[in-house]
């Protein structure tokens, strides 16, 4: 199974793999927000965590449609389905690889973008922690969406529409946890715990749903 993980990373890093497109998209979205809202640092500081989270959410959805579509187009999906390894595990490993390529760089880049949005250091630390816990959930739920749309030609857009409603809880608890860290009265640990619970739940539900969908889509 580790060979599958490293193969996924290798493909992502090879030309055309688009390894860092997630972070660049994150930069683009964070840059665009102030143009709409205005350069005033105080307003930006207040909505900073929300901007970070929404940008991370959209960036994590990038490249999800290619998660299974490439495998189906070159015929690897059939061989993957027939092997001894349970398909849920295969999907899990592919999600992990996708997260390492897309989600992890987002978390590591959060400080720079936090500075740009004038988010206080405590807010940046909280944002990093919540993103670290939350982005895997987005990838895992997104994988289920990708499996559903694998046989559709324009799957990419459909995934965003299918998955966005499902990741709203992740977004809500992520942002409330980050705000909780910044403004004293609001709690941090409670929403953060729920966020971790959401991720663990999607770690089981996502791959399971994706595996069953893939098994039936191999027509």
């Amino acid at each position: 199974m580790t060979s599958l993980f490293f193969r996924e990373l290798k493909i992502a890093w090879r030309s055309g793999g688009g390894a860092l497109t997630g972070v660049m998209f994150f930069l683009a979205v964070v840059t665009v927000f102030p143009f709409g809202i205005g350069p005033d640092l105080n307003t930006l500081a207040r909505i900073g965590p929300a901007v970070l989270w929404i940008a991370a959410l959209l960036a994590s959805l990038l490249g999800l449609d290619r998660l299974f579509q490439l495998e189906r187009e070159d015929g690897s999906l059939d061989v993957l389905l027939m092997q001894e390894w349970p398909m849920t595990l295969v999907v899990g490993i592919k999600c992990l690889a996708h997260w390492v390529v897309t989600g992890l760089p987002l978390v590591l880049a959060t400080p720079i973008f936090g500075l740009m949005l004038n988010v206080p250091p405590i807010g940046i630390a909280a944002a990093m922690l919540t993103l670290l816990a939350g982005t895997p959930a987005i990838t895992l739920i997104g994988a289920a969406g990708a499996a559903v749309t694998v046989s559709l030609p324009r799957g990419g857009l459909l995934i965003a529409i299918l998955v966005l409603p499902l990741v709203i809880p992740v977004l809500i608890f992520g942002v409330t946890a980050t705000n909780g860290a910044m403004f004293d009265p609001d709690p941090f640990t409670a929403p953060f715990m729920i966020l971790c619970a959401l991720t663990l739940f999607s770690a089981v539900a996502g791959p399971l749903a994706a595996a069953t969908m893939l098994r039936h889509s191999a027509d």
Binding site: S15, G16, G18, L20, P34, P39, L41, L44, L115, N118
Partner: protein
């Protein structure tokens, strides 16, 4: 009459030299020869620039932070200059079909992005003592940030399209579209900045430049340009090697 002739012959010579450059093998040989020479000039200019910068009298208004200006302003200029070199190369690909134009474009993109990043980072470091925060959505800094995104886009597009000939046109057109949009972005960001004039941020103007600062700045700018020229040539050689390896690999596949 005779100097008109020599003039004409010299310009022919120059033109021949330029078209001679078009052949990658000769380009490799030529750059091999002049590389040490250019590198030493760059080091010299850099040393001169730094020496002058550090012996410049202290600025009454900003104190020593003016030292940051000596590396921030050239970096910002280089970010612009590098993009113009890329746009020129884009024209070279589309209009004059110069075989090395695409090589020059692909080679310049990462260097330009590095200089833009430097301009942003040193700008933020320079602004911190002035504005009290690391980043301000100041008109100039914001447009340089947008320029960085354009650079990253071109680099990613270049990495995605591996096959040189088909990719050259796409890269050239994207670069030119970016080039046309930079002034528009600059104008709209300025307008956006003045529209939302944030009271808390004092308008940061470049100090009146007296000679003591202008010369070191110009020398540093020259040093930066030479650095770009050296790195650009070196990266062009890398790009040529990448294409040779690629053709050899394809031929290796066919030879089977």
């Amino acid at each position: 009459m005779s100097d008109a002739l020599t003039e004409e012959k010299r310009s022919q010579g120059f033109w021949a030299w330029l078209t001679g450059l078009a052949n990658p093998t000769r380009f490799m040989a030529l750059t091999d020869a002049i590389m040490p020479f250019i590198a030493s000039i760059t080091v010299l200019a850099l040393a001169a620039g730094l020496y002058m910068a550090f012996t410049a009298p202290e600025d009454y208004q900003q104190g020593e932070t003016v030292l940051i200006m000596f590396i921030h302003v050239p970096a910002a200029w280089l970010a612009m200059m590098c993009y113009s070199v890329m746009s020129l190369s884009a024209l070279g690909t589309l209009v004059w079909r110069h075989p090395l134009a695409d090589v020059s474009l692909r080679a310049a993109a990462p260097i330009g992005a590095a200089f833009t990043l430097l301009a942003l980072v040193t700008g933020s470091l320079w602004g911190k003592p002035m504005w009290g925060t690391w980043w301000v959505w100041d008109a100039r800094l914001t447009s340089v940030l947008v320029l960085l995104i354009i650079y990253l886009g071109i680099i990613t597009l270049g990495r995605a399209l591996e096959e040189p000939t088909q990719a050259a046109k796409a890269l050239a057109v994207t670069t030119l579209i970016g080039f046309v949009n930079i002034p528009i972005i600059k104008f709209s960001v300025d307008w956006w900045n003045t529209l939302h004039q944030p009271a808390s941020v004092s308008r940061f103007d470049r100090p009146a430049m007296d000679a003591a600062f202008l010369y070191p700045l110009l020398i540093m700018a020259l040093a930066y340009m030479l650095m770009f020229f050296t790195l650009h040539l070196m990266n062009m050689r890398n790009e040529i090697l990448r294409r040779r390896i690629r053709t050899l690999k394809i031929r290796a596949a066919e030879a089977g």
